[in-house]
Structures are given as C-alpha cells and as structure tokens.
C-alpha cells in the first residue's frame, strides 16, 4: 500500500483488488468500477485515505473489487454507515455505492436525509432499473409499464422516481448523471464529485444485460446534457423535470454549508472510546 510522499504514481489498476467480479459479462457495473478507479488514479488519492461503503445488491459488491478500504454493509444502509465513518474520520475520502433499489427503496429514507445533511460524501447510484441479484424485479426507477418480471406481469403501474430531482429537492449540492457506456466521462463526474465539498450524487445508468437486455439500446439514447451545469436550483429542477432521464453530465453544483464532524475535531484514542462504555 502506498503512503503519501512515496512518489509512487498509482494507476487505475492499482485501485482494483485481486478479487474478480462475479457480475454477468457485459454488466455496466464493470464500467462503473473502471470509472471509479480511473477517477481515484487521476486524483492520486492514497489507497489508505479512501473508503468505499456499499449496501446490498449486484452493484454493492463493488467494495470488494477495489483495493481501498471497503465495507459491504446492510441493505439500504450504506449512507448511514458512510456518514458515521465521515463523522469519525473527516480526513478520509468516503465514497458510497449501491443500486437503485438499495438507494431509493430499502434505503430511500437514508438517501433523502444524506442529501439534506450535505455531508462530504460521494454517492454513486448504479441505476439499472431492476433488482438483479434477486432475478429481475421492478425497482423504484423501473418504468411503470415494464412487464418482463413474473412478479409484475402487467407492470407495476407506479410512476418511477427521478433520482436527480429527488436529490435536488432533498438538498444535495452536486448532482450528475453518467452512463456505463461512457466510463471516461463518468470518471470525470466522479472525480468532480470527490473534489466537491458536500454531498455529491452521481446517478450512473448501468446496463443490465441479463434482466434488462433492452438496455443495449441505451447507447443510442443517452445524450449529453447540453445546457451545462448550474448553481441555481430553480433552473436545475426545470431542466431535470423536462429531461427524459437519459442525458448525462454535471447538472447542478452549488456551495452549500456541509455538515461536518461534531466537536472540536480532536481525535480520541480507542482506549478513550472504550472507557465511555465501561460499566
């Protein structure tokens, strides 16, 4: 493991672990992994200064595939775990990753409050519009008329979330959308999100070749968000609502006070901490 001052140039491969992903061949999550590791390599963040916290689901396995600190957490609870870590170790770069079901259904409440607190976290939601690990059920971002799951043969009939709008309404200060078919551009957004002080939300459209084979068309549907980023929430929400959900880019970025570590910033020892629990 490198340490600051080693003058070792880290390549994106150095941020990957020896554990081989068990994602389906062709899964967009491979590209998201590449984007994260490319962003970290470009920023040359020392491995021991970065943690990647994830929830449960196909995409949440990503923590094991990187060589930074990782914690494969509880379903929907990646954000509270990351919040705790950031509160305790505000010197660390804390990334959070998970799927659309993990982040918007099981962890939906944690998502809106993480946005509201605007803590300095970078959250990458790998959105494949389906629960893949449990073999293809509709998620909160699945279109209401998707009929391919036997659980909802006539579709859910329920409107899907617009994750970017939800993040904006809840107080996130950096909102972007990338695509697994363009991992280099996604890496740019992740690097910008890491450098942004506050809660950065990056929705990564990630194809699921197994349960959503129609995602093969996404490469023809995504387009660049041409209007550019704004720090005006009214402008941002107007654009996001009008958007078809397939445009990519940094949509919103604003300097908003970020919740920081409480107290005077001094770090206690483990013995101090344990003494508080003495009976």
């Amino acid at each position: 493991m490198s340490t600051p001052g080693d003058n070792v140039v880290l390549k994106f491969k150095d941020y990957k672990s020896e554990t081989k992903p068990i994602w389906c061949p062709g899964c967009g999550d491979f590209a998201v992994l590449n984007a994260i590791t490319k962003a970290l390599a470009q920023l040359q963040l020392p491995l021991q200064n970065v943690a990647l916290i994830s929830g449960i689901g196909c995409s949440s396995r990503i923590a094991a595939y990187t060589s930074v600190y990782g914690f494969h957490g509880v379903h929907g609870r990646a954000l509270p775990l990351a919040t705790g870590l950031k509160a305790a170790r505000d010197d660390m770069t804390v990334l959070v990753a998970g799927g659309d079901g993990d982040g918007l259904s099981i962890g939906g409440n944690h998502f809106i409050h993480a946005c509201r607190r605007n803590m300095d976290l970078t959250y990458i939601m790998m959105d494949n519009e389906v629960y893949g690990m449990t073999k293809g059920q509709a998620s909160p971002t699945t279109a209401p008329d998707w009929e391919k799951s036997k659980l909802t043969p006539e579709g859910t009939g329920v409107r899907s979330f617009k994750p970017a709008v939800l993040a904006l309404a809840s107080g996130a200060s950096f909102i972007a959308r990338g695509f697994s078919g363009d991992p280099n551009d996604l890496a740019r957004m992740i690097a910008a999100g890491i450098e942004h002080k506050g809660f950065s939300f990056i929705q990564a459209l990630s194809v699921c070749p197994t349960y959503r084979p129609e995602h093969a068309e996404w490469k023809n549907q995504v387009n660049k968000f041409t209007t550019g980023e704004t720090d005006n929430p009214i402008t941002a929400v107007t654009r996001m609502v009008a958007d078809d959900g397939m445009s990519t880019g940094i949509m919103y970025q604003r300097d908003i006070p970020s919740l920081e570590r409480p107290g005077n910033g001094e770090t206690g020892t483990l013995a101090d901490f344990e003494s508080e629990f003495e009976l």
């Binding site: 992903p21 061949p25 590449n34 073999k135 280099n184």
Partner: protein
C-alpha cells in the same frame, strides 16, 4: 475533426497509443476474468491470450517512448472517436455463454478499429514523425488482424445447445 488533427505531436501520439494498448489489455483481461468466473474456461483462455498480445504491444510502444517526458492526459480528456479507446470494444454483445468464434469476432472488430486509428493518422498527419510511427503501428495491427483471421478459420463457429440460456427464456417469455 479527425484523429490526425487532434494529435499534433509525437509525445501526444505515444500517450494515445500506449493508452489504447493498455486499455485493450485491461479489457481483454476483464473479459477473461468474466468468462473464468462464469465457467467458460475455453473463451477465458482466448481472451487471456489476447490480453497478453496487447500487453506486448503496449510494451513495444513504451520502448519507443523511453527517455521522453510524456504528457499526462486525464482519461476524460482523450478525444477518441468513440466513448473509449478504439481497441477496448463494445461490451453490449458479450455473454457468458459466448464461444471462441464470437470472442474472436469481438477481438477482430477491436483490431480493425485500432488499425483504422493508426492508418488514418499514418495517412493524414501533417507531422512526419507521427505519420511514420502511426504507419508502422498500422502495419502491425494489420498483421494482428491477419493472425486473428487465420485463428478464426481454424475455429468452430457453430453454436451448440450449451450456448443457450434456458433460464433467460423462462424469465422473459
């Protein structure tokens, strides 16, 4: 704007070329790992071999660059024709049940794009040393393509029943 217009000096050309080959090696390794994990050892071995060739080519280009102070270009600042380097390929056709012939078709498409990249620069670059080196690399890519074609000719291209996922039919019918 064509690649030859975007790449204006030899150092930049070398960075593009090294990145193209390194990313091809990484992608082929990634594909080999995918196939290995999904119990398709035959195709995994093919992709591993292709990764090895890409690494050899990357090393060859790094040797050309020895002693030069190459610029650092962020991944998102490369102006490739597509979203990724030309030899990294399109992952949308990848399947865990793919056979060797399909793997070789993917590899040939990648090599063809790499050839087109070098060939265009070799023919149209206004910088003589860039044009000369690109033409040299284009010849090598052409040789790789010929080798892959010969390999393909010896490969059974038929798709048998084991390359059929009954689970997916049940999921979607």
């Amino acid at each position: 704007m064509s690649m030859s217009d975007k790449i204006k000096d030899l150092d930049t050309f070398l960075v593009y070329s090294i990145t193209l080959e390194e990313e091809a090696a990484e992608r082929h390794d990634e594909l080999a790992d995918m196939m290995g994990v999904h119990n398709n050892p035959e195709v995994a071995a093919t992709f591993r071999k292709l990764a090895h060739y890409s690494r050899l080519h990357a090393q060859e280009i790094r040797d050309h660059a020895k002693g030069r102070d190459l610029p650092v270009i962020a991944p998102w600042d490369f102006e490739w024709e597509g979203a990724e380097a030309p030899e990294s390929g399109d992952m949308s056709g990848v399947n865990y049940l793919m056979n060797n012939a399909q793997a070789l078709q993917l590899a040939m498409a990648n090599e063809q794009r790499a050839f087109d990249f070098y060939d265009q620069i070799g023919r149209e670059s206004q910088v003589p040393e860039v044009a000369a080196m690109a033409a040299e690399f284009a010849i090598e890519e052409k040789e790789h393509l010929d080798l892959l074609r010969a390999w393909m000719d010896k490969t059974d291209a038929s798709v048998d029943e084991k390359h059929f996922d009954f689970d997916l039919v049940k999921m979607t019918d």
